[in-house]
Symmetry: C2
Subunit: 191 residues, 2 copies
Amino acid sequence: MKTRWPKAKRLPALRRAVEQDPFLTDEELAQRFGVSSQTIRLDRLELSIPDMRTRTRRVAEGAYRQLRAVHRREIVGELYQLERGVSALSVLNTSEDMVFEKSRVVRGHCIFAQAESLALAVIDAEVALTGVANIKYKYPVQVGQKLIARAEVTRRRQNKYFVAVRTQVDGREVFRAKFIMVSLTPGGEVL
Amino acid sequence: MKTRWPKAKRLPALRRAVEQDPFLTDEELAQRFGVSSQTIRLDRLELSIPDMRTRTRRVAEGAYRQLRAVHRREIVGELYQLERGVSALSVLNTSEDMVFEKSRVVRGHCIFAQAESLALAVIDAEVALTGVANIKYKYPVQVGQKLIARAEVTRRRQNKYFVAVRTQVDGREVFRAKFIMVSLTPGGEVL
DNA sequence: GCTGCATATATGACCAGCTTATAAGGGAAG
DNA sequence: CTTCCCTTATAAGCTGGTCATATATGCAGC
């Protein structure tokens, strides 16, 4: 960008730019908008956008928590209750990264991921995989809504666990799934 | 920590500390190990541990990629063929962020996400959502394996599309799903 | 034209958290 | 005692900022 962006256009564009890529320095932003870095700093001040290092740190911290959540506990969402082999409950706050751009509706596989990982958590096995799932999306979920998923083990046969998950938003069931989870026999087939 | 840690004990401890909390400055580490910050810097040099800002940036970038990869992308995997309303093909290279730590097996919802987003891509509609899915995981997928998903529209009834997706690894079918996709009536129910 | 004001840029001093290089002290081992 | 490693200190320079102050530019109204 060579031409100098006027302030009115620059401010919202600046906000979008750092949201999309938090790793941009003032210098880089200045070049992008054809102004000086000082102007960018004034703009940031006005929009209360913190500096690059702070932004980076925040992304890192947030993502770190999430990484731990995904890797350590292997639960998408936060686990609130767990009675092994019986039932479990997790909550997932839907955010901007989970939606379709056009419709602002939460992607199906995010809802699915919460349900599946809850189903995995609830069964009382060392290593397990999903075998079969029957799922139904009943209502679209908007970004920002809180997904409350309840899992219940309904049957168990040998190494197969039958788990039912129901997901609610504000008391309304938006999703339900029946899973058959299988304890893994290494290298072998799932079903 | 008041007592000065000897080098032999300090080095491995330093590595662990930084791994566990990448946000520690040299000054903080120095205090923790009862040495000067210069010593910490020499230690880092010896262990080739980058400085705090670099560590923070790396965590942020890695996590950012992961968030994007899992949540954001409209098509999970790469779209290779698309005949709107008829069939589509996508390829997903499985990576470290997709696996369970213990078993090194790719998470179910990653495979599901590829299939679902392919099913969405193949139907010829402006805005659409998943209504119902029947899915079956046949074999576990190891990290590094290439997932090839083929989607076919099998039926269409009003605003409902029936899509079958089969996912193969090296010619072996590891996953299959039947989706009923629904064009969205805004605010209304899905099914 | 000129004045006035918002916007924009420049300048200088300062900061954290480093890097690099150089120098120097202490303590155990030969 | 001397040597050598470990440790600390000191100074200069870097990035990516902060804050405060001064100056320049555009343009709108009179």
